[in-house]
Structure formats: C-alpha cells, structure tokens
Symmetry: none
Subunit: 205 residues, 4 copies
DNA sequence: TATGAATGAGGGTTCATTCAT
DNA sequence: TATGAATGAACCCTCATTCAT
C-alpha cells in the first residue's frame, strides 16, 4: 500500500535525523524536508512527532524481541544460543544507529509509550536470563546474580555505539567474538588466583 | 566564598534537572526555581545554559580522570589496579546520575566544549588500556584487542545507570565484584571447550 | 502574487513604526499588530527583524539611485539635470519619512547590509559629482571641492525631514526652488565683495 | 567639587558610547565600565539613563545657543556674524560627534525633555533668521523664505557629520569656507540666467 | 492527498533599575 | 560613597500543530 510505504519513508528519514541530532533538536520541518514532503503533510501520516518516534523505537524493539525470542525458544544448544544472542545484539548495536536511538530518545516518548517499551525491553533481557538460568541449572556457571550478568552482557555490547566504528581495523565479526570470549571466559589466559584476591581487597576500599 | 557556593548550588540543581528531564527539556526558569533564585539571576552566575552544563560535565570528567590516573600511576599490583578502576567507575556510574548526564547530555555542549571533554574521556580509557598492556606484557592475558577490552569493560559498568537501583537486593559492593569477576574470569566455572566451539559456529551466521 | 503583497503591507507597517519610534524601540509584535497578523507569522514572511529593515532601506536607496542615474545619464542640459536631481531628492526627503529612516536606522543593519547600502549611497552622490564635473569643465563653476559641494547640496535638502512640514505655508515646489537657488546662486542679490572679506576674517578665529 | 567632576567623567564616557553605538545599544554597564565605576554607582550620580542623555544633549545645545546668541547680539558687521555662525556650527558638527548625538539620540529623551530641547534649538535657528532678516532689511538678499534659508544653511553644515573626515584632504577651515561661499554666493562663477530657466522647467515635472 | 498560511505557547537572554550592606 | 546581588519585564525568535482550501 502506498500510504504505508510513504509512512516508512518518513520514519526512516526521521530515524536518521533523530539519531544525528536528537529528537528535541529535530524539527518537524527537518523531517518533512528530508522525506520530500510538506511539513503539514506529516500530520496526514502521523498524529504527532512523538508518535513518529514511538513507531520507530517500537519497530526496533519488536524486531529485536522477535529475534531473541526465536533464538531462546529454538532447540539449539545453550552455548550457541548465547553466542547468537550476542551476535544479533552486536549487529543491532552498530546497525544504523538504532542503539543510539534506543539509548537517547526513549525519554522523549509519552509516559505511556515509554512504559510499554520498557516492559518489552525487560522481556528482551529476560530471554538472556532464561538461557543463563539453564546454564546455571547445568552447573556450569559461577555463582553470580543472573540479572546482573545479563545486564553486564548487554551493557558491554550496547555501549559499542559510542566508540565502535565499523570502518576501523576491528571488524564486526571479530568484535562480537571478543565480547563473547570476555563474557564467557574472561580476559585471563588461566583463571588466576590473584584475580580472586583482588576482589577480596576491594572490600577494604 | 559565597558566590562560588551559590554557583555550586545552582549546578547541583541543574544537574538534577538535566538528569531527570534532559538538557533540552529543562528551562532556565526551572533551574532558577529549583535553586531558589530568579531566572535572570542565573545569568549573574553563569554566562548561559550551556556553560552550566559544561561545568557540570567537566567536573565529573575531571574528577574521574584524576582518580583513574592516581590508580594507574600508583605502585599497586596490576590486579588491584584493575579492581580499583572498576570499583571507582562503578561508583561513578551510579552516584547521583552522573553517568546519565555523561551519556545523554554531552551532545548539548558547544562543539568546542564537546571535543575538549571527548579528548579527556579518551585519556580516561587509555588509563585502563595501559593497565591491560602491562597484563598482556606479563603474558597473562588472552590475545584480545585491548581497546575493545577496555571499552567492553567500561560499557558493562557504565550501562548500570540504566537498570541498577542501589536500593535493590544487589548492593554496590557486590555489583562491582560481579563485574570484576565476569571481566577477569568469565561466567563459566571452568573454561569450557563448548564456548570456543560456539564462537566458531558464529561465523556461519 | 498574494504573498509578495502581504510582504509589502508588512514592510509598510514596519517602515511607519521604525520611522516613528526607531528600529530598536519597535517590537516585532508592534509590527505584526500594525500589519494585522500574528507575531509568529512575521517570520513566515521575513527571516528576521533586520531583514525587514534591510528590504525597506534597500528599496528606498535602489529607487533613488535608479532615478538619479536616469537623470544623470539623460541628454538633458546640465542645469536641468541639476534642478531635477534636487527636485527628486527633495521629494524623497519628505515623502513618507523615508529620509528619516535612511538617516536614523541604517546603523541597525547588519554590517554586511550596512556596507552594501553605504556603497550604493556613494554611487548616488557620485551621480551629482559627475554633473558638477561637467559644469566645472564648462568653466562655469567656482573653484570649490566638488565632493564638498555635492554633500553640501544633499545635506541642505536631506535635512528637511527634521523641520519641514508639507502642510505649512511653503509648498514642496517652492521648497526645492529655494534650495536650487541657494545652491546655484547663493542668497545674495549680487555677489558681494563683503562676503569674500568675511571669509578672510574667519581665518583669525 | 568631586561629585560634579565624577558626573562629568561619566557623561563624557556616556557621550562617547552613545555616539558610537547609540543610546539604545549602550548598556548602563557599558557606561559604568567606561567610566571606571560600578554599574549601581551610576544611580548615585544620575537618576536614570535618560537623565544622563538629557544632560549631555542639554549641554551641547546650551553651549551652542550661548555662542550663537553672543555672536548674533554682538556689534560685528552682518557678514562677519554670518561667517562666524557658520564657523562655530561647522566646528560643532565635527567636534566629538556632538552632531551625531544631537541628530540620532534626541528621540530617546522623555517627551518633556525632548520638547524642551527642541524649543531651544528653535531659538538657535532663530538667531540666524534674525541675522538674515537684517540682511534682508538692508536690501541685500534675494527674496527667499528666511526660515527655509536658515534651515538650508544648518542642514548643509550639520550633514557633514555623515561624510566629513577631518583627516582627509579638506581641512576644517576650508570646509567652512566652502559652505559659506556656497550659501552666500552659490556655486556659479556668475549668476547665470540658465539657472533661472531651469527653475521654471521644474514646474512641469 | 497535499499545501501555504497562521498561531499559541514558550525559551533563552538582556537590561534598567533596586536594595541591602 | 560604593558594590554585589537580585529582579520584573520584555524581546526576538522557534516550533509543533492546525486550518482552509
């Protein structure tokens, strides 16, 4: 349908601008201009500026949630699930500044929309937590709080939008492998007793 | 001096509001109101709204840089340096929403200020990279890109501002220990050959 | 075209207000009110307040320059040219307070616009200087600095906006005739030797 | 008295700034800064900004009026009176931008002050008119409206502040001589019949 | 389906002036 | 006599949104 195509085109223009300049610093005129339509026409396709942002973020989150759900509920071995989750999340974090939008622009949503999307992001995290629970059940994990582990994982990866440049020497593939290695095996060649001692020392500070 | 105290009070009010509503959605009138002064009086203490933001972020970054530099250049054992860096960064990430400000509001700085602070944050990351280089020189680290490792580390921790609540069941102490463990030892009880296989499988996707 | 007509209407309202109260003391709301539109609508038609002033002054200067150029480059006898220049300048000086705007509001232009219009006003003066040069070449003029003569001429006339009232007993026609007479023949019935002596006496003071 | 000296110093600073940037664009802080005092101290010496302007203009006008009155009421020959009036007026027009202040800043006075000074400037003009009347009575003048003649004279000279630069090739002495010559004898070597014809032609346009 | 025109509600900033000391 | 601090009132300009066509 033509109308929906136009909507998509506008959303893409808006997503790019929001990502570049932020929601607050993007004018509806900017968006209309970038989408090749008149400013007032925007209001034929969308109720208001916030709705535009909502639809953009909603799609990003929905897509991510679908992918991670598919992985989690598949019959793959646990290690593979973990690796795949990381891979698709890394891709999302880099691809088209989606992560930037997610991180920076959610606060511009209406309270209702914001809460709705937060809830779905909690589901997203829960998918990983479930995988970790299964690893834990198999007795393979260290005794760490799983929620913290999951957020540590997502934080490590999501943060990439702030520094990672795909044109640099580290390719996307390599990047996700490093993340995976750190998360699963740590940075040490062997598990070092010194590392454990350092933890204990922390308590004094 | 009284004037500088007032300035500090205003900065604190502004920091709180910027953190809650964002720079763009905070009115100079809001700030003045929260600081208990007239809107115009703000301009007696600060040149403009952006300067207020700059001073707030500059202090956060300067303080962090001082701390991390002190640690890196001390004569502590490497493991302890690593643990300490993580500890103070975790504290900063949670304390008074400073991380939120750093992540969300830097884009509202003037280009000059933004670049200046970016540079100092690069220095900050380099402190950790240096520690990692020394670990690598001692032959204790896996063969991973050190820049990626450093950002993975900071990402994992910095992300906490988005989900961590100090009032919850996981205390700050515990939190930084978990981060440290994950980063240094990974989440597995033993280094698992399955984890390595999963990495290889990734390449097919 | 309707939009251009509206622009003109706004310019006229603004010109009147600027002339009455000065640029600095005229609010954009004043202008909008006088033009029968909303304050914000002003910015639909003009980029900013300064542009409005620029367009007003530019038109005055352009029109004057066109007229004086036409006269100077025509094939009329020199005396007639001189008389005509004076006549149109007198008219401009009185008509709708244009001279008042030129004299008082140019300083509110942006540096670029101000310089541009200054340059065109120099051209304007040069038209008269050219005519005077031709009179000089014919040996009919006293040996006076022509630039000074030209500015004396324009000053005499332009000054009228400060005191002349068209409703008074001296009509516009008569006014320009008096100016012309003074400029070309002086105020004396015969060229008086006493006048020359007075000049010499000046040097003592 | 010290207080009056300080007042004078402030007035001079203000006069310079008003002349450079205009009354509206000069801050009371600008003035205080230029006079080397605190902004609030200004209000110890003057009631308000307008009073400052009033005193400045009042002095200019009073001084001028005194001089021209002295000349007019002296026992000098008429020609010399005329020449002297012109000389002192030319000096005033160039000296320290007084003319600029007079022309541009009177509109910023309060209505009462403005009217008062206007009245005194009318007196100023009347001094010249009186001289012209005496010339007329001696039968030496052309039959021209004397008010127009007086204003023509003052306009010619006053206008100089807009274009005349004392550093240029025409010296102040020469300048006032040229003005005097033009006013008394016109620009023509001999009184030309063609000039009169040109006047008649004007009536057709 | 699309647009030119219009607007209400601010937002950052400035400034003459005042006041307590 | 002087000052640091404070303020009310504007001012220019922007912007999301609406409306008539």
């Amino acid at each position: 349908m033509l109308k929906e195509e136009k909507r998509k085109k506008i959303r893409e223009a808006a997503a790019r601008l929001f990502s570049e300049k932020g929601f607050e610093n993007t004018t509806t005129r900017d968006i209309a201009g970038a989408a090749g339509i008149n400013n007032a026409a925007l209001y034929y396709y969308f109720d208001n500026k916030e709705q535009l942002l909502y639809q953009i973020l909603e799609e990003v989150i929905r897509t991510g949630l679908e992918k991670i759900t598919e992985i989690e509920q598949s019959s793959r071995p646990l290690e593979e699930k973990l690796a795949l989750i990381l891979r698709i999340h890394t891709r999302g974090a880099v691809d088209f500044n989606k992560m930037k939008l997610l991180v920076h622009e959610q606060r511009s949503l209406s309270p209702g929309h914001r809460e709705e999307l937060k809830e779905r992001q909690r589901l997203y995290v829960n998918r990983l937590i479930k995988v970790l629970e299964q690893l834990r059940a198999r007795g393979e994990m260290l005794d760490l709080d799983l929620t913290v582990c999951a957020y540590a994982f997502f934080g490590m990866v999501s943060w990439a939008y702030r520094w990672y440049r795909p044109e640099g020497k580290v390719k996307l593939e390599e990047l996700s492998e490093i993340f995976y290695t750190i998360f699963t095996q740590g940075i040490y060649r062997e598990q070092k007793p010194e590392a454990k001692k350092a933890i204990k020392k922390l308590k004094k500070h």
